[in-house]
């Protein structure tokens, strides 16, 4: 590229100022190395301000000795190209009259070209580092003692940046201002964008004020983009420093903004491959440092546009997917999502919440379960209470050590204690009927021995003098082998006892009635049995009277007669005795008795009747029969009933087949059995089931109570009465009674 005369003009502008400075500095002697930074457009002119400040900072940092920095500006953007050359050169010459600078940095073309133009005058021995647009590098060729760091600006890349991200873009607004520098670049752009003309229409805004530009970019059609080069000065001549214009445009634009320089990123552009002024500054500092040390400057490392970098916020704003971005990209200004920023906190909080929730759930569930349990408990308690109250069952608990008795109101009520009164064992014992006290005490002692349920029935005397029957059931609980407490229930069974007594009385009455009626059936044979001796007595008496009338009286005969009379009298009285007990009305009393003797008595009793009925009764009695707990009269009644029934059953058959046997034996279970078997027709199978039901009879004039009562009697003896048919014909009744307790124990 040829040297543009714009640069020459600028160099001439700074000349006078430079001489002024030079004279002021001439008075100073040797000191720290001097570094002159010669700005093209002013110290704060973007983007070169970044370059120069980076250079200055880096150089100062890396230098082993303190450095003295001098800065001067050509203000090339504001003045004609070489207008200030001479004053500036004079100024600089004056500034460094006493001592020349040790290093000169020129940023951008105007100052670089200025130095090239005036090198012979301006410190040719001082090394110069010039950072220039690579297009101007040839213009710098031949400059004495100068190291050129080119700025590679590839304009096509700028459009590519846009198309890479938004391939559909057809319309690009290229933002460059009205300053000569910008106009230069506008020219460059027009030329280098030409190959894209078919794809993208690029329009320029050099002739617009910022407001106009803003208005324009605010109403862009779809598929538009704004490419911000720079806006140092708009058409109205208003300067904008430090990328202020970029921020204004960013606020106004309805299309994405793209830029050129790295530091545009973050100020509203989407991004792309950008030129880094910092990198240039660092490279300039590296080169400068070597020159300060009088070392041969190494090869300048080319600073190429950076790896593509993007502003995350803009990507978001224009809804550009990161996936479509070129490889090796860097996305900056990523605003971390709330999640990314507070990931661990969030995890912790969530975990905490979860934990807490879980805890709450567990507590809630526990509470619900507790409530349900409470409800169930309440209900159960209510039920128990209802049950105990309505059944008048008292519940008690006796603390063995203290003797205290805890009892429900029902239990206390049974004893006639107040509900709030405290109960103790001595109090309980004092309430007992004197006759029962010992038995209860013994029962309690027994209950404490084991852990089984014990039951006792006893009488208590209430404070009002009433005697009540109570039944108590309880079980002792022990700890370490020693009884601790006893828990049980209590029931007033007076009515039950009375009812039982009444039932017993009625049963006895019924049994007696039945007995008497059975005896009625025996009346004929009894009469016969009685009249036999009575007849003998009368005949003997009359014979005796007649013998007495004889002369001499037959005394020997009379003596025999008297003996016979006595004998017959005894016989009659024996018959009466035998019968009398059966006619007597009495309660059942169980005492050990010999069943054989019962059988014998009954067989004797019915022998007359049996003769009358031509029935043979055989008794096969086991000689060694333990006594049973029984009531003689009642057992006789049962046997009588069975034998009479058997005889009646056989009445319709031939006399020689009317055989009846009564067996006694000790069975395998250690119980005593009496079996009455006959040779009659047996029991009809359909009768077998309800034989023992009341009013079940097969007799023409029977009441049907005999067997029912017999069974009741045997059950009261804790025995069994069963009926069956024998294999060989005839009925078999078995009467099984337990052996008397005392006997079993011995």
């Amino acid at each position: 590229m040829d040297r543009p005369h714009i640069t020459r003009r600028r160099a001439r502008i700074g000349g006078g100022l430079f001489l002024l400075l030079l004279s002021a500095l001439a008075a100073e002697g040797a000191g720290p190395p001097r570094v002159l930074i010669l700005h093209s457009h002013g110290r704060e002119f973007a983007p070169f301000n970044i370059l120069s400040s980076t250079f200055r900072t880096e150089l100062a940092r890396q230098s082993s000795e303190p450095l003295e920095f001098y800065e001067a500006s050509m203000e090339a953007a504001r003045y004609e190209e070489t207008a200030m050359d001479l004053p500036l050169a004079d100024y600089l010459q004056a500034m460094f009259a006493q001592r020349q600078p040790d290093l000169i940095l020129t940023t951008a073309e105007p100052s670089s070209l200025f130095m090239a133009r005036h090198r012979s005058r301006l410190f040719p021995s001082t090394p110069l580092v010039g950072v220039v647009n690579q297009r101007m590098v040839p213009a710098m060729a031949g400059t004495t003692n100068a190291t050129i760091i080119p700025i590679h600006v590839e304009l096509a890349v700028l459009l590519e940046n846009i198309l890479e991200v938004l391939p559909a873009t057809t319309n690009v607004i290229m933002v460059l201002g009205k300053s000569p520098f910008e106009l230069y670049w506008t020219e460059q752009c027009r030329r280098e964008f030409a190959p894209f003309a078919s794809r993208v229409a690029v329009s320029y805004v050099n002739e617009l004020t910022l407001d106009q530009i803003c208005a324009r970019v605010a109403r862009l059609p779809p598929r538009s983009a704004v490419l911000y080069g720079m806006l140092a000065m708009d058409a109205a001549g208003v300067p904008y420093e430090q990328e202020r214009a970029l921020r204004i445009l960013h606020a106004a634009a309805n299309a994405p903004l793209f830029g050129v320089l790295e530091h545009h990123l973050g100020n509203g552009i989407v991004g792309g491959r950008l030129i880094s002024m910092e990198a240039l500054g660092r490279e300039a500092a590296r080169v400068g440092l070597r020159l300060l040390r009088r070392e041969t400057p190494a090869d300048v490392r080319p600073t190429r546009p950076s790896q593509p970098a993007y502003d995350w916020r803009e990507l978001r704003r224009w809804d550009i997917s990161e996936a479509g971005l070129p490889a090796g990209r860097e996305v900056r200004f990523r605003v971390p999502t709330f999640w990314e920023e507070y990931k661990w906190q969030l995890i912790a909080i969530h975990a905490l919440c979860l934990l807490e929730g879980l805890l709450i759930f567990l507590l809630w569930r526990n509470r619900r379960r507790l409530r349900r349990l409470q409800g169930a408990l309440c209900q159960s308690e209510e039920r128990l209470s209802l049950a105990t109250t309505s059944a008048k069952v008292g519940i008690w608990s006796w603390n063995v050590a203290s003797g205290a008795i805890e009892a429900t109101p029902e239990a206390k009520d049974i004893f006639g204690w107040g509900a709030s009164e405290r109960m103790t064992l001595p109090m309980f014992l004092a309430r007992l009927h004197p006759d029962d006290r010992t038995a209860v005490q013994q029962a309690l002692d027994r209950a404490l021995q084991d852990q089984t349920i014990h039951e006792i029935q006893c009488r208590i005397v209430r404070p009002d003098g009433q005697t009540r029957w109570i039944a108590a059931r309880g079980r002792a609980h022990s700890r370490d082998g020693a009884p601790v407490n006893m828990l049980g229930v209590l029931l007033d069974v007076t009515e039950r006892e009375q009812a039982q007594a009444e039932a017993q009385r009625q049963q006895a009455e019924l049994a007696h009635t039945s007995r008497v009626s059975t005896m009625g059936e025996l009346a004929a044979s009894i009469t016969h049995e009685l009249n036999q001796p009575l007849g003998a007595i009368l005949s003997n008496t009359e014979a005796a009277e007649m013998f007495l009338g004889q002369n001499p009286p037959a005394l020997a005969e009379l003596r025999d007669i008297l003996a016979d009379i006595r004998k017959d009298d005894e016989r009659a009285s024996e018959v009466i005795c035998r019968m009398r007990s059966l006619f007597r009305k009495r309660q059942m009393e169980l005492r050990p008795i010999d069943l054989n003797s019962v059988v014998q008595a009954v067989v004797r009793m019915v022998s007359g009747d049996a003769a009358l009925r031509k029935t043979t009764i055989a008794a096969a009695l086991s000689p060694r029969l333990p006594p049973v707990q029984g009531d003689r009269v009642h057992l006789q009644q049962v046997l009588l009933n069975l034998i009479m029934n058997a005889m009646e059953a056989m009445a319709g058959q031939a006399p020689e087949t009317r055989r009846l046997t009564v067996h006694t034996r000790l069975d395998d279970q250690g119980a005593v059995e009496v079996a009455v078997s006959d040779c009659g027709p047996g029991i009809e199978p359909n009768q077998l089931g309800r034989l023992f039901e009341p009013f079940s009879t097969t007799k023409a004039n029977g009441m049907g109570m005999g067997l029912a009562i017999s069974r009741r009697i045997i059950e009261a003896h804790h025995g069994r009465l069963t009926a069956a048919n024998q294999a060989g014909g005839g009925a078999l009744f078995r009467l099984i009674l337990p052996v008397a307790e005392e006997e079993r124990e011995s």
Binding site: A524, S525, T527, H528, E529, L530, N531, Q532, P533, L534, G535, A536, I537, L538, S539, N540, E542, A543, A544, M546, F547, Q550, E557, I561, D564, K567, D568, R571, G608, A611, L612, K614
Partner: protein
């Protein structure tokens, strides 16, 4: 045993009572023979001697009624007195219907017992005399020839000699001779007497015409209707 002296046979299983009654009867002047059961009595039945039987109704083995039946079966003539400790009405009625002399219950007063025995003995004597008379009568009829019996049958039906002669296809004279022989053998003087005696003997079978039979060798029983009115053919 003196056949003329009536004997009281007592059947009772109760030995004590048997002894007592024996004493009483002895004191009353009766001949006595005791049996412990009906079986024993039937094993040694008394011969044809006067007397009566006192039997207990209820005994082990055959009862008093069984004994009565057994005796009736062999036409034993001795009258029977039941003496029992307990007798119900149906049993007593049955016993009396079967010809028992009396039905007494123990204890029985001597006077009543003796009266019953006397009645029984009297009856026995009466029956005995009756039996003797009847046997004599039957002996007379036995003397008749079969022709005479035939003629007698016609005579008692009131036929005249001429009618009889016609029926039998003999002469009237022959009939007259038969009638005279019959009158002589039966020791009667008139036809009326002959008819009465024939009826009394009951030897003619009514309507069958001349077939008569005696009641075997044993004396006929006094029960009416029991004797068979047929004479054995000679």
């Amino acid at each position: 045993m003196n056949p003329a002296q009536p004997t009281v046979f007592v059947v009772d299983d109760d030995t004590s009572f048997l002894t007592a009654i024996a004493r009483l009867l002895k004191a009353g002047g009766y001949a006595f023979q005791g049996f412990a059961s009906a079986t024993e009595f039937l094993a040694h039945p008394p011969g044809d001697q006067p007397g009566c039987i006192i039997v207990d109704l209820h005994m082990p083995g055959p009862s008093g009624l069984d004994l009565q039946d057994a005796l009736a079966a062999v036409d034993h003539p001795l009258p029977l007195i039941f003496l029992t400790g307990h007798g119900d009405i149906p049993t007593s009625v049955h016993a009396i219907k079967q010809g028992a002399e009396d039905f007494l219950t123990k204890p029985v007063k001597g006077k009543i017992l003796f009266a019953a025995i006397e009645r029984a003995l009297a009856r026995d004597a009466r029956q005995r005399a009756q039996r003797t008379r009847r046997r004599e009568l039957l002996d007379r009829f036995d003397a008749l020839t079969s022709r005479e019996r035939e003629v007698l049958g016609h005579v008692v039906r009131g036929q005249l000699n001429k009618q009889i002669a016609g029926n039998l296809d003999v002469s009237e004279r022959t009939i007259k001779a038969h009638r005279a022989s019959i009158m002589a053998k039966l020791q009667v003087q008139s036809v009326a007497e002959l008819v009465r005696l024939t009826e009394k003997a009951g030897v003619l079978e009514q309507g069958a015409g001349g077939r008569q039979a005696l009641q075997g060798e044993a004396p006929g029983h006094a029960v009416p209707g029991r004797a068979q009115d047929a004479l054995p053919p000679r």
